[in-house]
């Protein structure tokens, strides 16, 4: 798995020579990944030699808060970044609520993303105190440390703390490193936890723009280590030092890269709480959308977090009335603080699918599609615990950790608008799956940048999605479908151009259930396109499903439901329905080479008990009326786009 690959080396060489930029190589008109792959020598006879494509997905969370987040601390979170990484690595920790917590199995990676606002409160101690070393005690300690007697100095310093003789000015003294802030602590925790090839600890933060309660949050993720990340302070949202405009965050990101030679990306989330502002089509922050906006947004935001604890963001029944799975873990009441109720007109600019559709159209008018993003899921938990399995859900905030009360507790109550959200509405979702060749910061980050990712609502199913022009049905039956997929097509997140005469795009799709989880109901392909008259359209196709001999589509094209084995009272289910694995090749029957389109995969599990059912059973609590007790977990792949030449 650690073997450097030919393709990787060539990419690296080209990048080093300045011939292509590693970031955005696919869009820049430079040689694409696929082109480079095609230019490589033919594969060896042995199908197992030089396997240079990702063979397994890595699962993680790109969005976890700890006690370092101002609001998490206020909620009662006691665990910091170090605890968060330990927990993600599979160790048992004591949750802030005092109970032991452990994952069913370790995660492969984690981004601790605490709010930047109010995080960097400590470094201001550094400034304005140039006179520090004038303090005689400070001078003495400083000299001790400089001359290598640090341990001695430490004991002396500790003693002075307890005796109350610690000179105040020394707190700010350079050289004692005693001014390191939450940001530096965050970096340090990641550096310590990062264990290449076994566990990746990314450095990151959340930029939390919430003007007037409208959620425009972004998580910023560094490809780099502490040497680069510690050269900057996270960008904040409060003027004059920060800004609530994403365009200013993008400037900060560019400045970071220019200064350090490093790389960062940003992932937006919870458009469903933005009240129509997450995916604008006309203007943003008073500026008319133009080509530059589209290019800049696409340069920095290649992924979108499509599912998390505060509701699912794939689509909405109002936007997708013909999609029978659209009504899923919905949070469509208002904006983030429930200060302004939701109206139907806002929805189109809040959900991933409608944004992907509008992006196609904007691509035609602006020349560049600003919403060509891939998909991930993550938690946004404020507990330092990335525990999103239904039977092991540790809630979104510390008061929402497992307790007999949480099925009845209130999450948000805004008396002004009368909008009230209950804890039972919090969703045990989700994780990010990343197809990378190895588990390192660089490999995972690069895979995110090329959008080779998918979102899951919690389970760790394995999902493949390849698009091309030449897939044939037998390709789904080979022993190594992935090899065929990468050879004849592009993986999720990729692009198709130049349709060969008379051909429609074909997709090699496959999914394998979570080894600990439920069987799969079906694999669907969601298509969005711009019709001849300029309207955006969508359609969901069932392409592979369990029990295909018995389950035939009805006259209206709908597939009969897979069934339901959930015993709510006992919070159990069986894998007697569904299939552990689904695979097929599907060709678009409605393809028009003149129309831009996107396709993404959606994998649906058979029904299983929702976290509320486990709570009701384990605590012996009666749920409130209307609490959903079952769930159909799912995965969303990054799309593959077709753009007419």
């Amino acid at each position: 798995m650690r073997m450097p690959t030919i393709e990787g080396s060539i990419l690296a060489m080209l990048t080093a020579l300045g011939l292509i930029s590693a970031a955005g190589a696919q869009d820049a008109g430079a040689p694409s990944r696929e082109q480079i792959e095609k230019a490589l020598p033919k594969p060896p006879y042995s199908p197992y030699a030089n396997r240079d494509f990702p063979t397994r997905p890595f699962f993680g969370d790109t969005h976890l808060h700890t006690s370092f987040s101002f609001d998490a601390g206020a909620f009662g979170a006691r665990l910091g970044p170090r605890d968060a990484y330990r927990f993600a690595k599979g160790e048992q920790v004591t949750a802030s609520s005092g109970q032991p917590a452990k994952l069913s199995r370790p995660l492969d990676f984690l981004v601790v993303a605490d709010h930047s606002d109010n995080m960097g409160f400590f470094p201001d101690l550094l400034g304005g105190k140039p006179e520090v070393l004038a303090d005689p005690t400070g001078r003495r300690w400083y000299d001790m440390i400089q001359s290598g007697r640090g341990a001695e100095a430490a004991i002396d310093i500790i003693f002075s703390f307890t005796q109350g003789t610690y000179p105040k000015d020394l707190i700010y003294a350079p050289g004692t490193r005693a001014y390191r802030g939450a940001w530096q602590e965050t970096i340090k925790a990641a550096e310590e936890a990062n264990d290449p090839d076994r566990f990746t600890a990314f450095i990151g933060y959340e930029w939390t723009s919430t003007t007037a309660g409208n959620n425009l949050h972004r998580n910023v993720i560094f490809r780099d280590g502490g040497d680069k990340a510690s050269q900057v302070e996270p960008f904040t949202t409060t003027p004059p030092l920060g800004s609530d405009n994403p365009a200013e965050l993008w400037k900060w990101m560019e400045a970071y890269q220019n200064k350090t030679g490093g790389s960062v990306l940003a992932i937006a989330h919870n458009g469903n709480l933005s009240n129509g502002l997450m995916f604008p089509t006309v203007e943003a922050f008073g500026q008319k959308l133009d080509r530059e906006y589209a290019e800049t947004r696409m340069r920095w935001e290649r992924l979108y977090e499509a599912t998390q604890t505060k509701g699912d963001g794939e689509t909405h029944p109002f936007l997708s009335p013909n999609d029978e799975f659209a009504n899923f873990e919905r949070w469509d009441f208002a904006n983030l603080d429930a200060s302004v109720p939701k109206t139907k007109e806002m929805l189109e600019f809040e959900y991933a699918r409608s944004a992907l559709k509008n992006g196609l159209k904007l691509g035609q008018t602006l020349g560049v599609n600003p919403y060509k993003f891939g998909l991930v899921g993550s938690s946004d938990a404020h507990t330092a615990l990335s525990a999103l399995e239904e039977d092991n859900f540790f809630g979104k905030t510390t008061p929402g950790e497992p307790s007999p009360e949480r099925l009845h507790a209130t999450f948000v109550d805004n008396p002004k608008t009368g909008i009230k959200i209950m804890d039972w509405q919090v969703s045990a979702s989700g994780y990010a799956a990343v197809w990378a060749r190895e588990n390192t910061r660089e490999a995972l980050w690069d895979a995110m940048q090329r959008r080779e990712t998918y979102a899951t609502t919690g389970p760790r199913m394995l999902v493949r999605f390849f698009g091309g022009w030449d897939f044939v049905p037998q390709d789904a039956n080979t022993r190594l479908p992935a090899q065929t997929g990468y050879t004849k097509g592009v993986p999720m997140g990729g692009e198709l151009r130049a349709a060969p005469q008379g051909k429609a795009p074909s997709f090699l799709v496959a999914a394998l259930k979570d080894p600990l989880g439920a069987n799969l109901d079906r694999y669907q392909i969601v298509k969005g396109w711009v019709s001849k008259d300029g309207n955006v359209e969508e359609k969901v196709y069932d392409v592979a499903w369990a029990d295909a001999e018995r389950r035939k589509p009805e006259a209206d094209g709908r597939l009969p439901p897979v069934g339901d084995t959930v015993d709510v009272a006992n919070a159990t289910w069986t894998n007697t329905i569904g299939a552990p694995e689904l695979a097929t090749v599907w060709t678009d029957p409605d393809f028009d080479p003149g129309q831009p389109a996107f396709y993404y995969g959606r994998v649906i599990e058979v029904p299983t008990p929702r976290w509320a059912a486990y709570d009701a059973k384990r605590f012996g609590v009666q749920p409130l009326p209307g609490t959903p007790m079952t769930v159909t977990e799912r995965a969303y792949t990054s799309p593959i786009w077709y753009t007419p030449q």
Partner: protein, 288 residues
């Protein structure tokens, strides 16, 4: 009783209290600060510039600096006034933040200690969990779905043991693939479910064996390479050991320090709190 719920009354009572508190705390007219109580020094201005530059990666313009200074002054006087009114007292968030600040400060101070080489050497011998690489295994497998899997697996195993080549058409496909290189136990558990890894590590080397059960079905497995756990050289893990040494040292000293502070502030509790003292029982005084 309705009156008690009246917001206006709350406002008036709170306002009155604030006013009284203010009168008690604030200096009266004649004692008003004659010289500046709030002074913005050149160093402060430099700091504002520095903070701006760190965020925006460029120095502020004159106009921006003007805004920064105005903002700073505004914030400073509001904060002073809030403190004078003791609005910080009893504020959970402020208390927590101060405690966190103190904790960072302590952590950092304790970091100045450099671990002695000899102690690291001892640790190198005593902590295999930090030193050894996990065992890894490479193998080829043939997968059988559970339906009639056992019979088919046995038949295939017999053929393979009889010297047949790798069975291209035997068994069922599985999306995970058929050959795995250098996998440790955690990786295998994540791919195949629990118990599979343990079973594979116990298989004989170099010949077909099984079937081994996974979450998906049955697998015939031929182990092609095994790398046993091995100790990484001292130089390679020195950093990790030093980190652990510091962590332990930090934890111990923090405990000691906290004990000292508890004594310094002569923490006393009501008898009713005694049952909840836990490990602090010996350290704090119980007073009626």
């Amino acid at each position: 009783m309705r009156l008690l719920k009246e917001p206006l009354l709350h406002f008036l009572v709170l306002g009155g209290l604030l006013f009284a508190a203010h009168a008690a705390v604030a200096p009266s007219e004649d004692k008003a600060p004659s010289a500046s109580a709030v002074r913005i020094t050149e160093a402060d201005a430099d700091w504002l510039k520095e903070m701006w530059t760190r965020q925006w990666r460029r120095p502020p313009t004159a106009e921006e600096l003007t805004r920064l200074v105005a903002d700073h002054i505004r914030e400073e006087v509001l904060a002073r006034e809030a403190k004078a009114l003791e609005l910080d007292v009893g504020d959970t968030v402020i208390r927590r933040r101060l405690a966190q600040k103190m904790a960072f400060l302590l952590d950092d101070t304790l970091q100045v200690a450099e671990p002695p080489e000899a102690e690291l050497r001892t640790m190198y011998g005593a902590r295999p969990d930090l030193v050894r690489t996990p065992p890894r295994v490479s193998f080829t497998q043939v997968f059988f779905r559970r339906e009639q899997g056992a019979d088919r697996a046995r038949a295939t195993l017999a053929a393979l043991t009889g010297g047949s080549a790798m069975p291209e058409e035997q068994g069922d496909g599985i999306l995970l693939g058929d050959s795995f290189a250098d996998q440790d136990e955690q990786a295998l558990d994540n791919l195949f479910g629990p118990t599979f890894a343990g079973a594979v590590f116990a298989l004989p080397f170099g010949r077909w064996a099984g079937p081994v059960e996974s979450s998906y079905g049955l697998h015939l497995v031929k182990v092609t390479a095994v790398s046993p756990p091995e100790a990484r050289p001292f130089a390679e893990v020195r950093g990790k050991l030093a980190e652990e040494w510091r962590r332990q040292r930090q934890e111990a000293t923090q405990d000691q320090l906290l004990k000292g502070l508890i004594q310094k502030y002569r923490v006393a509790v009501d008898p009713a709190v005694r049952p909840f003292l836990g490990p602090l029982a010996g350290q704090v005084e119980v007073r009626p």
